[in-house]
Structure formats: C-alpha cells, structure tokens
Symmetry: C4
Subunit: 208 residues, 4 copies
Amino acid sequence: MRTNRIETLCDGIFAIVMTLLVLNLSVPVVTAEAELFNELLAMWPKFLAYVISFVVLGVMWSFHHRLLDGLRKSDGWFLWMNICFFMIVAFVPFTTELISEYRHWSAAIVIYGINSVASFMLLYCQCWYASAGGRLIDECIQAKSILELKVTFAGGALASIAAIGFSFVNTNISIFIFAIVYAAFVVFVVTRGTFDARDAQADSKQDA
Amino acid sequence: MRTNRIETLCDGIFAIVMTLLVLNLSVPVVTAEAELFNELLAMWPKFLAYVISFVVLGVMWSFHHRLLDGLRKSDGWFLWMNICFFMIVAFVPFTTELISEYRHWSAAIVIYGINSVASFMLLYCQCWYASAGGRLIDECIQAKSILELKVTFAGGALASIAAIGFSFVNTNISIFIFAIVYAAFVVFVVTRGTFDARDAQADSKQDA
Amino acid sequence: MRTNRIETLCDGIFAIVMTLLVLNLSVPVVTAEAELFNELLAMWPKFLAYVISFVVLGVMWSFHHRLLDGLRKSDGWFLWMNICFFMIVAFVPFTTELISEYRHWSAAIVIYGINSVASFMLLYCQCWYASAGGRLIDECIQAKSILELKVTFAGGALASIAAIGFSFVNTNISIFIFAIVYAAFVVFVVTRGTFDARDAQADSKQDA
Amino acid sequence: MRTNRIETLCDGIFAIVMTLLVLNLSVPVVTAEAELFNELLAMWPKFLAYVISFVVLGVMWSFHHRLLDGLRKSDGWFLWMNICFFMIVAFVPFTTELISEYRHWSAAIVIYGINSVASFMLLYCQCWYASAGGRLIDECIQAKSILELKVTFAGGALASIAAIGFSFVNTNISIFIFAIVYAAFVVFVVTRGTFDARDAQADSKQDA
C-alpha cells in the first residue's frame, strides 16, 4: 500500500483543522469607527488562539510530513495509527481556545496537556512501528535520523506531562514549558525539516 | 480514466465529514473552575459521537482505499457509484449524533441502520462492478482477496439489517451488534488492510 | 503548467461545496419518539435539497474531470476560467436550497437558472479554449469527443435559459426541464464518462 | 523534500478559505415573492465580498502555484514560510468582509492593507529564498522570470502601503489603488501565468 492516500487525507484534515478557528471570526456590527477598533481589539484572544493553534498544527504537520517522507510503503496498522493521530489532532483548536480563555486554571492546562501528550505519543508510535526492523522505512534513511525523531517526540510527550504536573503548582510555569517546547520544535522543523539522505538521493536522481 | 481524481475527491470529502462533529464543539463560557469541569463532562455525548463517527468513517475510508488500490482504471458507472457512496457517507455524523442522543428509541437505530446498510451495499456494488469479468481490477489481485472483501461488505449490510430488526425488541441488542461489527471491521482493516499481491508487486519493483 | 494543481483545488472546492448542505443538518431536540419521527420528516426539504445539490455538483465535477482528463497542459487563461467556474459552482447549494423552498415563485427559478446557465457557459468556454487549434488538448482526443462535450454544455445552457423563460408561465414546466436535463446528464456521464481514445492509450500502455 | 505535500495542503486551505464567505449565505425566510427579491438584493454586500475575496485569493493562489511550479525541491525554511503565508491568507475573507462593510473608515482600510502587505511580503520572501543561489529553484527557470515575480510582489506590497497611507486622506483613493493593483495582477496571472522555460521543457518531453 502506498502512502499517498494517507498524505491526501492528512493534508485535507490539517487544512480544515488549521483554518477552524478562523471560520468563527465574524465582522463586528458597530456604528462608529472608534467602536470598530475597540471591538477588534477585544477579539485579540481569538486571534491569538488562532495563531497558536495554527503554529502547533504546523509543527505536527511538519513532523508527520517528515516521517512519511522517509517511508517506502504503508500497512493497515500504520494507517490506523494515522487515523487515531488525526482524531487527536482535530481537538487542537478546541483545547487551544480553552487554554487561551482559562489560562489560570489547571483544568484547562490539564486538558490541553493530555491532547499534547496523546499527539506526541501517537507520532512516537508511528515512528517506532515504521522503523522497527525496517518494516516500512526506506533503506536510505539513517538510524540516526530516526533516533532523532523518536527523541524529539518522547521529549514533547514528557515535557507536556511535566507541564500538566506543574499546573497544580503554578499555571504560568506550565504555559512557559509549552511555549519553550513549541518554540524549540519550530526551530527543529525549520532547520532540520527533511532527511539528509532523502535529499542526497533526490539530488543524485536529478543529476542522472 | 485514472482513479486519482476519485481518490482526491474522496479524501477531501472524508476529511470534512470526519471533522464535522468537532466543528461544533465550542468552549463553554463559565466563571468558576469547577463549573468548567462540569460543563466539559456534560459534553461527553458529543465527544463520544465524534469518536464513534470518526472510527466508522475511518473503517469506510480504509475499505474504499483498499478497493481503489486494486484498480487499474475507472469508468463512468464506477465514478457514479462513488458519488452515491460519498453522498451516503456524509450522513454518518448526523446519524451517529442521532443514535448517541436517542439510543433507547428504535427510530434512531432504524435511521442509523439504513445509513449503515446503504454504505455497505454501495461498497459491495463497487467491488462487484470493478471485479466482474476483470472490468477495472488489476490482474495481480487474486480472486480470493476480492471474495474476502465482498463477504465483508455483505456481512456488514446483513448485520445492520439484523440490528434494525432487533431494535423493535431491544435497542441494546442493536447497539451491541453495531459495536461487534465495527470492532471486527477495525481488526480486519488493521490486520489485512492491503492486497498481498499488490504489496509483493511493489516490493519486487523496489528491488529491481 | 501541468493541470494537477487545478485538479487538487477543484476536488477540494467540490468536496466542501458538495457537503455544504449536510453541515447545517442538526439533530432535533425532542422528548418523545413520535416527535422525533415528525421532526425528521419535517426536515425532508433539507434532505431533498442536499441530494439534488450533490447530484448537480456530481454532474459538474464529472464533466470537469472528463475535460481535464483530455488536456496535456494548462495556461493562465484556462486557470482563470476554472477559478470563475469554481466561484459559480460554489453557489449551487445556495440556489438549490432557494429553489427547494420557493419552487412556486419565478424569482427562485430565475436565480437557479442563472447559476445553471453560468456554469454551463464556463464549461463551454473551457472546452472551446482548450481545444481551439489543439491549444491544450492531448493529440489522442478525437474532434468528435470534443464536439460531443460542446453540444452537451451548449444544450445545458440553452435548456436552462428555456427554463427561466417558462418560469413566468408556469414554474412546474421549469422544474420539469431542469429534472430532464440533469437526468440526461447523469446518463451521459455514467455511460460516456471518459474519452475512448484516452482509455485505449492507457490500456496499450498497460499491455506494453 | 518534494513540494507535493505543501501543494496539497495549500490547495486544501485555499479551497476552504475561498468558499468561506459562501458558507455563511443562508436562504432568507420570507412569505411573499417581492420580499424574496428585496431580501436577496439586501444581501449584495455579502455577494460582493464573496466575489472580491475569491478573486484576491485566486490571484494569491495563482502566484503561489506559479512559484512552486518552478521549484525542484523544498526545505524546512521554505515550508515554514508557506505555513505563515497560509496563516495570513486565511484572514482574507475576514478583512474583505470588513472592508466591504466599512469602506468609508480608515480603520477597515488599514486592517485590509496590513493583510495585503503581509501576503505579498511572504510571497516575496518565498521567491527570494527559493531563488537565492539557486537554492530550491529548477535550473531551467530564467533569472528574468524570477525578477519579474519579485518586482510584482514588491509592487503589490508597496501599493498596499500607499493605500494604507491614503486611507487617512480619502478612503476612496485607497479602494481605487487596491482595485487597480488586483486588476493588474489578474491580467498578469492570466497572460503570464506560467514559466516559459517550464512549458518549453514540458513540450519537448511530450515530443520525445
């Protein structure tokens, strides 16, 4: 089974989920210009939630893209790990809105954290399943690249668990942890967003 | 006619329909943390309906993916069987919400059952039309694999009819039947989600 | 410029527009089982509008799929004819709901008719532009197949104009014309949904 | 890393965002035919906002399509420039609705202008990043074609800044500037929507 159908479904679902929070923005009904500015300013938590949710989903999508880029085929187990992953990922806009509204309550942090842990655990499982014994992974991908991805996903899950724990002490610590983790992940996917071996292969094909 | 356009349309429609029930989740407006937990707990039937609908659609998508994986081309009849299939499948979130709200009423079970029967009958028709006389199917696909799919789809349709019948006796029996059927189907698509012959072919191409 | 991006955008837009009317279906809130049946029965114009809109969009998509299947490349003019076509097509759910609510008023028929005329005129323009002087069309496509498509699109536009005219006499005549036209088009795309020459080519490649 | 995943995500997001304003159109509830006409006429700002938003997004999509058509590969930085671009582009329906409702207020013009500037700056960055030192661009693309794109994107950004400035004098001047710019861009993408070198290459492949 090729991976192209999983990729198209994935891109469709991410496209919808990424734009979900923008679907609900509606133009305020006002009668004076100053009022318009105030109404738009009052919408800032919605804009912020949209941007955070988009960036978090962008990170998830980039990791998923990177992983599938390294596969030579798919199978039934891998497909269903993906379906579970998409199901979890579709909650990101909801939990992001929750955290942006109620960031001082540990309840919101806990729910956001569970969503985050589940996403990274599913990415870890996909990575482990695909690479164990070279099951689905392309031969050209180095073990080092896979290990790097696994460590990243495990780190994301562990940091989220820590953030959940700290939420009972001080929710600001939790939010600080999430911010650091996602900032680090954006740096990771931007600077190392692709498998070197894959690129070398593509370049040599181009030259041939 | 190649099958790629049907696949892209299919993936787009499934992406929308799978995330449909999550579109309607909105963050509760509360003033106390305990209230937030209660409000979120009170939303459990919505979360449950989302998960069930996602899994059922995941099963449908996996079966459709598997079937199209085995085709070498498409034609006008097959294309319209697909359009009808998508039209039926788009009702799954609606009927799932119905059954999760009113699971003790046979009316809800009957409507859910009709949706389920129609989906499996259309999958059966697609399978039969594509394979009869080798019309659209790839030569490498074994008759045994096709028979397996046909039996599965016929089984799904018959079990759904049985569930409709039992709903007039006891709706719990109907729900139990649906649960067993979909659990069995998840096992089927996870463990046998691909055509062996297709994979063997792909592996040999890789080696060449 | 290859046609694949237009196809992906097209499939994405049709996926959304086809499922648009199902997005608005919501489970009725009732307290008795008989009430549930009545509420669902009262929703029949919504279900009917959904089915009609899905079939009409299915016809449009099939025609567009067939046309693009015969092209070897695209260009800027063709791309923008497509963008205009998608803009018009996205109104189909709205005009279908209008006609299903107010089918006895010529106003609804006129608006639906204009939408229909515009769609077929844009399909005709695409067909004419792509085929004139072999600009974008593949060499293997016979002039006869192109003429057939052009006659079909011109016929659809003319019949819709006739339906608009008759709406001032009797709206039932208009609805009858639309029903006949779309029924004929479904038969057309089902039985002749592909270019024979394209298929012959694909089959010979398979054999080689 | 190939560009195909970015293209599918892009097409999915544009498909949703282009149809966003049509999602909110709902059939008016009336009791007399004359009332229906009046209600529909009263909806004209919504229809106009939809058409403008669709055309503006069509221009953005065409430029993005043209740019990616000229790339031979992608990387992490380019991928994230795209994610930022999609995030900005998803605001177009919102800012278009704002400008169509409050076109006499500089507040609306300023917000629309910022959205427009950000879009063109991100397109410029993508173009610059991909072409600098031949990083991602295909060898067959001439420097002249890239320069042309860069000048266009810089021009779009500068014109939008000018429109923002003039909004404090007279908002009609701003709207006139936006209208001229987008009209010119539609002409650009229609008449020069593709790289000549790419087409020549494709044609020679076809002949071979």
